[in-house]
Symmetry: D2
Subunit: 142 residues, 4 copies
């Protein structure tokens, strides 16, 4: 499963080069993860309400073309790997001509309320099951 | 007492007009308040550690000249009014030629940990006393 | 005419008080203005492509209730005053229970490409006419 | 050569987990690059004034420990690779106990004013020379 969001860059996200500032992609990726959680039936707020937290431990952002204010972009988000302690999401952003403009990958670890690493299968089997059945391992082309 | 910080605008704070985006001033004002608290001997972290919170309820930002990346600015922050429930800060930002580029005023209310309004004199007399003795009422020229 | 946008706060927009940081409202107001321009048939990008710029000169933000991640908000944006040199927008943000959570007002001036003040009626009559016919003066209750 | 900046996280940079939001590191890295340019005698503004632009094409951010408001951090920035078309910077962030909290690496390409790739040796030999003599290749431990 790949979740889709449409992004209309905000004017505030531009910089004086006239493009979307590179720090913004991490925020768009996060919006993609929130939509992904919604799509699998687990609003992100419910994850936090259950006492779990997710911490970014590794983030990669690869720029193919600039994104600009005044245009629309499509971002696909999917889960490419999942275990009891962490998950890996991938992101693909396309412009209106369906050209790839940006790629990303991020690894998040499960934490408890005190921000200590936790085993999500032990902490919350329902959440573990929901994510694990939507992993999209791309063994063949990953 | 007026607290002083030097601001070197970040490239990320620019927008495609080539100036600092107007939403950034609220962040600079906040940095000014943090420095102000340090200067009166009350690190902002101590306020939160004591269980108190400060919520912005009214913010005014007045633009005289644009601020730009590559230049330095001086921001003065002072407390212009203070009561048991709220405080008013004022901000003045000057460029390297000592021209006023921006003015601001903001009103903050004291909240408890559950984000309910609280009387700071009752909650924490030490904090109340520190702020109240540094108020700079400008009756004559305000 | 009042333009409407639905806002789903981003996780990145929260702060450690657990609410949307107050500097974010200026960004939401800007999104409202962009939608407003779309709604009157003048995409914001066209304004800049025509050589005009809009600079914020006065911004007021009034907080009634906190906004939080995991909830949706409706923001209405309208033009409350307009002249050849500047315009005033107002903003109203409501929560899912239709309670007012935030109010705003901002004044923007027309600039040319060199960021010098300009008379929009002289610079671009089409743009002047489009805005001027949508002003929503609230003489009675403003 | 390694450039050093001291970072005092801004309250606005926190999120509701109580830590600095992960999208902020890219901004701190950028501040490090600006300081690096200053340190080698080439203020970043001069680079843009000369007509050159730098575009981020690959960004990696690795989280060891959270950064938090109320503490100070030291960030070292250095150039780990350099050619006529791109440069690679590395970043190391340490807390007050000198523990590594964050690592980063980013690749930037040289563009002209129209955002087309350019050869910096041809475009501006002075800039090429300044960067190339400060590269810190860590062949032995890289």
């Amino acid at each position: 499963m790949k979740s889709l969001i449409t992004i209309e860059p905000r004017y505030q996200e531009t910089d004086q080069m006239g493009v979307i500032h590179h720090s913004v992609y991490a925020v768009w990726f996060e919006m993609g993860r929130v939509k992904y959680c919604d799509d699998i039936g687990l609003p992100f707020k419910e994850i936090e309400d259950s006492g779990l937290r997710l911490a970014m431990i590794d983030l990669r952002s690869i720029y193919k073309k600039p994104a600009m204010f005044g245009y629309r972009y499509k971002q696909y988000t999917y889960l490419s790997d999942f275990s009891r302690v962490k998950m890996t999401f991938r992101y693909e952003i396309y412009n209106e001509a369906d050209e790839l403009v940006h790629l990303g990958e991020s690894v998040l670890v499960w934490l408890d309320k005190d921000l200590k690493p936790t085993n999500v299968l032990k902490s919350n089997k329902h959440i573990y099951d929901l994510f694990s059945k939507h992993v999209l391992k791309e063994i063949q082309n990953g």
